[in-house]
């Protein structure tokens, strides 16, 4: 019988995911020991990887580029913020669930209008949606706190009140909490992209007309892709809130959308684990560059151009080509 999986791209398997998860688990205590400031960046990286992975279901697999995914980061973060501010509810799991539901609902509503478009129209439409919500967070300060934002206290994790723990231990516990959620999100995404649904997304990306000729309702499936990616990004936004401890309009700004796009491209959007690798590396890269110079925007721009020129298929694409050359040399 024919085997379909023989030509999977580099890293598109559960073993690769397992290795990454174990690496993120082991790396945290090591970093905490040798360079404490860098340990928390790993947690940020893992959270951003959830957002980038979700974004890539829409971009890499379905072929829809969005410049407005900060929309869902904002929805996720403000769900936690508003829940704390108005309901004094500090159970994070409730917030995560609400964030995912609200992100999904927003994606369905926006998507109903936007997935009729593709290419630059889709990208700009999403950007506009993001900016509308950013304007709301900024100007409706009596609800959102405006530029001051909303302070987030320590949340209870799995019903356990952690407010008395020292900050280091709390951050470490939070890292593993995030990692477990990320592991579930990674595996779920892997199933999605390798399932009939994932193949349907790829078909729409390759040729929407041909997909229709197979009887695929492309409108419906593009809406599904947007909703899944929104759930992932919303979840990431909700996980960011307790770590940053301040929910402000910055999280929903278009720059954040650009960051998600770049993380995905940096890692390699044609590779399943590319966005995960890209998100973690970008988080460290950004932090290092900011620490080095006040001209970090400039330096980051140069870095982005360099990546596009040297490794247009991202880090995974670069590794893939190196491995192929190595194999060719050996044979």
């Amino acid at each position: 019988m024919v085997a379909l999986a023989t030509r999977r791209e580099l890293g598109n398997n559960l073993l690769a995911l397992g290795i990454l998860i174990v690496l993120f688990a082991i790396l945290y205590p090591i970093l905490r020991f040798i360079a404490p400031g860098y340990a928390i960046l790993l947690t940020y990286g893992v959270i951003w990887s959830i957002a980038a992975l979700g974004f890539n279901i829409l971009f890499g697999y379905t072929g829809l580029l969005s410049f407005g995914h900060a929309t869902f980061i904002g929805i996720g973060a403000y769900t936690i913020g508003l829940m704390v501010k108005y309901l004094d509810l500090r159970i994070l799991e409730v917030g995560l669930l609400a964030a995912m539901l609200l992100s999904a609902a927003t994606a369905l509503l926006v998507g109903f209008f936007v997935v009729r478009y593709s290419g630059i129209f889709f990208a700009i439409f999403m950007l506009a949606v993001g900016q509308i919500l950013w304007g709301f967070y900024l100007k409706f300060y009596h609800i959102t706190g405006g530029t001051n934002g909303i302070n987030i206290p320590r949340m209870s994790l799995l019903g356990v009140d952690l407010s008395r723990l020292d900050i280091g231990t709390y951050q470490m516990l939070y890292h593993y909490y995030v990692l477990v959620i990320a592991a579930v999100a990674y595996v779920a995404a892997w199933y999605i992209v390798n399932s009939p649904l994932g193949y349907t997304f790829k078909a729409i990306r390759d040729s929407e007309v041909r997909a229709k000729a197979l009887g695929i309702d492309t409108f419906k499936y593009k809406l599904v892709a947007l909703t899944i990616s929104a759930i992932y990004t919303g979840l990431a936004g909700a996980l960011l809130a307790p770590l940053i401890r301040l929910v402000s309009p910055d999280l929903a700004y278009w720059f954040v959308s650009g960051k998600i796009v770049f993380m995905t491209i940096l890692g390699g959007f044609t590779y399943f684990i590319g966005p995960i690798v890209g998100a973690v590396i970008f988080t460290y890269m950004e932090s290092l560059v900011i620490g080095y110079t006040i001209y970090w925007y400039l330096l980051l721009g140069v870095l982005i151009i360099m990546v596009m020129v040297v490794a247009p298929r991202g880090i995974l694409g670069f590794l893939d080509s190196v491995m192929l050359r190595f194999k060719a040399l050996r044979s």
């Binding site: 024919v2 085997a3 199933y191 649904l197 041909r210 000729a213």
Partner: protein, 250 residues
Amino acid sequence: MGSVLLRVTDLYKYFGGVRAVDGVSFELAEGERLFIVGPNGAGKTTLVNLISGYLKPDRGSIIFRGEDVTKLSFIERVRRGIARSFQLVTVFENLTVSENIALAILSRRKLNWIAYKTVESFKDVLVEVDELLKLFDLARVADRYPTEISQGDRKILDVAVTFALRPSLIILDEPTSGVSTREKHIVMDRLIKALNATNVTSIIVEHDMDIVFKYANRVIVMNEGRILADGSPEEVKTRDDVKRVLLGGM
């Protein structure tokens, strides 16, 4: 031949002042293999676009299996059993040959929405993929991407994907276009073998007269949006007006 599968009545399609399809009517019985021929701009592709639902007619009706499908969308017609391939090969370039076929089978079975099982775990789908790969002689390139196979194999893959939908009516728009002269008969042999094996009703748009007269059992000749002749290859090729249009007066 069986009962009437498709009835096209008084079909019109204008593009501005151009009459692409100008009052076309014909019937197609179950199991028939119809070739549509004609010079460039005769309206062949527009006609099959109208039948498949890719374009909407300005006037006229299309009855398929007794149901008026004239106003149904492209996707709805696929679901009712009208499947087509395109003049330019349109396959999914980032899926392997076997994955292209698997996706068509999954679509036919309405399994696209499943997200909790990998495609590989659908063993019955893989068995069917295997059968189609053998039927179309694509097993040797099953694991390759469409960009890695010959143009002839790409054309065959396009047809195999359409076949995987198990349609009642299959429409193939110039299945040998862009294929080398040497490959044309190989492509057609494999295609006709599959048509015979499945006994599916077919409409094939073709411009190569050697191909048409070798494989057709019914031919419609179109010119300037109208049907000029309709009959067996032997009947059609002896007509002077057909010779004039197709062979430039020979």
